[in-house]
Symmetry: C2
Subunit: 132 residues, 2 copies
């Protein structure tokens, strides 16, 4: 996938800081790449899925153990795991009759870790927004 955008040039005078804008334009992701990224983040925007990913960042697990840990039904866990597999966020390893799920790669672990670090800092910081 070409992740660089073709952004049509504008007249320099339209920008407050043209050299900065040129630098950003050269690097900016394409709308398609931004959409793919947004779709990945959207899939992560669900608390059951974030708990699954965090659990699998600790160790690989089979569906039934994961379901028991999270307090959801095995079929619910299976459904979420299928969505995560389809987006290549988790992968499977078969051992005998059992199927173990693990994070697809270190990118996903980093995504979860960075997201958690941010959420914890966000919760600890004086908020700009009203909390419910």
């Amino acid at each position: 996938m070409n992740i660089r955008a073709h952004v049509p040039p504008r007249r320099a005078a339209e920008f407050a800081d043209d050299s900065r804008v040129r630098r950003v334009r050269r690097a900016l992701v394409s709308p398609d790449a931004a959409l793919a990224l947004a779709e990945t983040f959207s899939l992560l925007g669900d608390p059951t899925r974030t708990r699954i990913l965090h659990a699998l960042s600790v160790d690989e697990l089979c569906v039934s153990d994961l379901a028991g840990l999270l307090g959801v039904s095995p079929s619910a866990a299976s459904h979420q795991l299928r969505l995560l597999r389809d987006r290549r966020l988790v992968a499977v390893r078969r051992q005998g009759k059992r199927t173990y799920y693990h994070l697809q790669d270190e990118h996903i672990r980093t995504l979860v870790d960075m997201g958690l670090s941010h959420a914890a800092e966000d919760a600890a910081a004086p908020s700009r927004r009203r909390r419910g």
Copy 2:
């Protein structure tokens, strides 16, 4: 925020791999932390916002330059920036009459970079799902 969950213990026999489950249970994020994480990812699940964050990962920008780069109105860019500020994903720096936006911290840059790396690999890989 206490990000560790209290997960009620189950009888060992209910789990296929009890020692593994105990290890994951000790580390697992709480439902509240998982929800905060999911809310952060949800906010990132929008292609305009991912483009804004990617642009700001290259350099800080003022609203009008960002809007011009992305081909959106300044008021639309402002609206998205406000949402991102509320969630502490971006921050501002005032210089004279101008306001520059930048990523809140390196966590956010890593989130965007890891997400893009994953999305690019996902697009390049043989897909398990039907693409539209």
